[in-house]
């Protein structure tokens, strides 16, 4: 049967035009409109390597157990922990994340999500200086200049250029690509840079200096000539870029981890945001982050709404605290400041530095996921995951912080649970029963 307008649960674009033809008898799935990453995830519905049974590690051996046994052991680990870490990943719904946040609050643990190792510094930059933002539709309809800074959009969010950024025909950009100018700032000559009208091949770790120089030029001053050696970009090219932006009707800037993860971190973002504010004296200009996961923005929205802070929320003192560098996942694990972990819909062992990952494999870990990965290998309890937007409904927040409600096209393969939200609710009940016994 063919299903239309399915939401893709992979990257921050959360594309809403995917068409799926699911053959439940022959267990095949044909996917239209999705990119390579999206198509691969949709194949997980019928894949042979899907995690279908809960497992626990006992005396070093991994064995299959019932859902009830796995949840009992998971609850035991969490209740016995003095300070559990809840890493509530971003490829599941806000509804599941909300239950995870409540368990963390109940147990006095720490709740964090992918933003902490993704655009966390971007969020901190926004807290410093505010953001001139826009929805993706505004960019599509109005922007005649797109700047990709520190992001290889063609490979990290493959449909951004075709849906929102460069190629689509918008109301004021009826000729699509021909009505737009594209600038890329990246130390590598990426496919995105190759497709651009202007590529600034910046030296690594000099984003702050380049942004400062652009700011100086925008204010009518001449930057010091040493900036050319530092950034690797001639001042004449910087001036060309500023002029191109000023002459445009609407500039959309998209930043990636190249800005927020290199030296300077949130200060790079702060400078970019201030540059954008200044640019609005000359033309319409906004900035947005290309978020890596379909609901990484959702956790920021949810945690901010519920507890006042976007990530790294520590409940140890009985009230929410937020101090990046202290209450954030990589730092907590590196400093060995937590003694158990619950990792949902994220392969944390794969994506954090060795010092932190090594400690994560040493403490009791519960992992909820759909396929074997380094985190499930190291976990003491593995709970099978339900795939959001395919097997259950819920809410994602897209890259531009627009909430998207998704409906499934098939059911959860597990009679024991309909969604990750329900799995977490069952876990919460067991945690409360043990804690209050």
């Amino acid at each position: 049967m063919v299903y239309k307008n399915i939401i893709c649960p992979v990257c921050g674009a959360a594309c809403d035009d995917v068409q799926v033809d699911l053959d439940t008898i022959n267990r095949t799935i044909d996917v239209q409109n999705a990119c390579k990453m999206g198509n691969a995830k949709f194949q997980e519905v019928v894949s042979s390597h899907r995690i279908v049974r809960p497992t626990i590690r006992e005396n070093g051996k991994v064995k299959d157990v019932s859902w009830d046994e796995a949840l009992e052991m998971a609850a035991d680990i969490l209740v016995k922990s003095r300070r559990p870490l809840f890493f509530l990943g971003s490829e599941t719904s806000c509804e599941a994340q909300e239950v995870g946040l409540h368990i963390a609050e109940y147990l006095g643990g720490v709740a964090d999500s992918n933003a902490t190792i993704c655009h966390g510094p971007t969020v901190m930059g926004i807290q410093e200086s505010g953001m001139v933002g826009a929805t993706a539709g505004q960019t599509k309809n109005r922007a005649d200049m797109i700047v990709y800074w520190g992001v290889n959009a063609l490979e990290s969010m493959p449909r951004h250029m075709s849906r929102y950024g460069v190629f689509p025909r918008g109301y004021w950009t009826k000729r699509g690509r021909f009505d737009r100018t594209l600038i890329t700032v990246d130390p590598r000559r990426t496919p995105t840079a190759t497709a651009s009208d202007l590529h600034l091949q910046i030296n690594p770790n000099t984003d702050y200096e380049l942004l400062s120089a652009l700011f100086t030029i925008l204010n009518g001053k001449e930057p010091h000539t040493s900036i050319e050696d530092i950034t690797g970009i001639p001042i004449s090219v910087m001036k060309q870029m500023v002029e191109m932006m000023k002459e445009s009707n609407y500039v959309g800037i998209f930043v990636g981890l190249g800005v927020s993860s290199s030296y300077g971190k949130h200060r790079n973002i702060e400078m970019a945001l201030n540059f954008v504010k200044e640019m609005n004296n000359y033309t319409k200009c906004n900035i947005g982050a290309l978020r890596g996961h379909c609901n990484v923005a959702g956790f920021n929205q949810l945690a901010s709404y519920l507890y006042g802070y976007p990530f790294g929320v520590d409940f140890m003192k009985g009230y929410p605290r937020y101090n990046p560098g202290e209450t954030t996942t990589v730092d907590l694990l590196r400093e060995k400041d937590v003694d158990a972990a619950f990792v949902m819909s994220a392969d944390l062992v794969n994506h954090i530095p060795a010092d932190s990952a090594k400690y994560l494999t040493e403490i009791p870990m519960i992992c909820l996921d759909i396929a074997p990965c380094p985190s499930t290998t190291a976990a003491d309890v593995v709970l099978p995951g339900v795939i959001d937007a395919m097997e259950c409904d819920g809410t994602f927040y897209r890259l531009d912080n627009v909430p998207v409600h998704f409906e499934p096209f098939t059911d959860s393969p597990f009679p024991e649970t309909k969604s990750n939200e329900e799995t977490l609710k069952m876990l919460f009940e067991k945690v409360k029963a043990k804690k209050e016994a």
Binding site: V10, C11, C35, K36, M37, G38, A40, Q43, E44, S47, H49, R50, G60, T116, I117, G120, P121, G150, N152, L154, E155, S156, P187, R188, R189, Q201, P204, N205, L257, G258, S260, S261, Y263, K265, G292, G312, P324, G325, T328, T329, V330, R334, D347, V349, N350, I352, P353, A354, D355, S356, A357, K358, T361, I370, A371, P372, C373, P374, T377, A378
Partner: protein
């Protein structure tokens, strides 16, 4: 040779990771790879494998070299994956996010075996369990 490590997505890294194939040979071939320019590769002596070591010397991982024109001298790129993260600096500058871009690392020729993702977890992180 000391260089700056850049990590990030490639489309096939994304395809294999999202498709649940992190333990496949294809994933290893795509991600256990260090991109560098021809001049740096020649300086290393054109090795079949290179060892990438973190600046503090605590962590080393063996990967395959890939010569490409997209890199400049003094800079290398490893697709974001467990191999890259073995040597990414864990310091977050009080932001929570480690230095995925621009970590100083040392690269040199090696005869060490290139491990699979599962072997990295079991041998480097779990002490061979």
């Amino acid at each position: 040779m000391q260089v700056l490590l850049n990590t990030g997505s490639t489309i096939d890294e994304g395809r294999l990771a999202k498709g649940g194939n992190k333990y496949s040979e294809d994933y290893k071939k795509e991600c256990a790879v260090c991109w560098m320019c021809a001049a740096d590769y020649a300086t290393l002596g054109s090795p079949e494998k290179v060892a990438v070591t973190s600046r503090d010397g605590k962590h080393t991982v063996a990967v395959y070299p890939k010569v490409t024109e997209v890199m400049r001298s003094g800079q290398v790129f490893i697709p974001r994956s467990i191999w890259a993260n073995v040597v990414v600096e864990p310091d977050t500058f009080s932001t929570g996010s480690p230095r995925y871009k621009g970590s100083p690392v040392i690269i040199e020729p090696t005869d060490e075996e290139v491990l699979s993702a599962e072997e990295v977890v079991l041998k480097l992180y779990m002490g061979g369990e």
